[in-house]
Amino acid sequence: MNDFSELEADLRKLRPVLPSAGLQHRIESALGAATSLPTAGVLPKPRARSNGWWSLGLGLTGVAAVLVLALTFFDQPPPPQAIASATPKIAAAQGFQPVGLSQVVYSGRDEGLVFPPNDSGPLRRRLRYETRETMRWRNAQTGASVRVTYPVEQVVLTPVSFQ
């Protein structure tokens, strides 16, 4: 490291650009507001965390929609006794039995630490997984099968601690 001591000294002489005067005032306002309303959500909402739940909700809605569409399309043209079904339970009642469920994780990201907006809980690490799930049903009598594939985005928050 001694080879770099001169370079390090030169680097330390280099001055970073100073922040604007307004920044301190903005922080003062934010801290002042936070002090007067400690639990009123003064801080910006944790956007990414909200997005995670939002994405999860959208994903589940998407799954339901895909399931309905897939079962509906499968039933065209409808077999004599078949009725379009929106749920696995009804599909089973029509003679379709679940024969498989596969889950392929094609993306996993560590999105770093999540800081709660107030002292409401521990620090957490946010992990985002994108998977593709495939469900299969088969009708033993007719030999027909249904396969539904849908994307799932899962956000996992795990508590972390520092020493």
Binding site: E8, V17, L18, R26, L113
Partner: protein, 164 residues
């Protein structure tokens, strides 16, 4: 968590840390205004929760987290390009105030460093963090932090050699 500092103390702390925090935030932003937004969000968040600046690694982790949140929200429509964009940060505004030509060359050399190396140099030189603290801030191992730092200084030396 009890506050063990007065409301005025944060001003002293912030005055000391602000330039370096801003420099660190510039790693993910290409303007001072954006970097200031990131620093504000992170500092307020950190101060409310931590009430102490002893754990500096965590403060910088808060800046990094706020910066990445901002970057993600901006790039939500094309999330897969987020990683690529991280490598494409170009400084539209200077991040240093060089006092002479030599410092100007040095500043330009620092800006040419790969992001991973530059952020370690930012934290080590201008924030005076230990490698252990850098490891917390960047969520890497202390050895990786030290290694990146050495590579960065080596790269700087190479870049500057023709001008010396």
């Amino acid at each position: 968590m009890e506050s063990n500092v007065s409301h005025e103390d944060w001003k002293t702390c912030f005055a000391q840390l602000a330039p370096a925090l801003l420099l660190f935030a510039r790693r993910w932003t290409n303007s001072r205004a954006d970097a200031e937004d990131v620093v504000q969000e992170a500092f307020v968040r950190f101060w409310r929760r931590q009430h102490s600046l002893e754990n500096r690694g965590l403060l910088y982790a808060a800046v990094r987290s706020a910066a990445l949140d901002r970057l993600r929200s901006e790039q939500r429509r094309n999330r897969r390009e987020a990683t690529a964009a991280l490598e494409q940060v170009d400084y539209c505004e200077p991040i240093f105030t060089p006092e002479d030509e030599g410092q100007g060359l040095l500043a330009a050399a620092v800006e040419r460093l790969p992001n991973e190396q530059r952020e370690v140099v930012f934290l080590k030189i201008w924030n005076e963090l230990t490698f252990a603290e850098i490891a917390v801030a960047l969520e890497i191992s202390p050895n990786t932090a030290a290694s990146r730092y050495r590579y960065a200084l080596g790269s700087l030396k190479k870049i500057l050699q023709p001008h010396e």
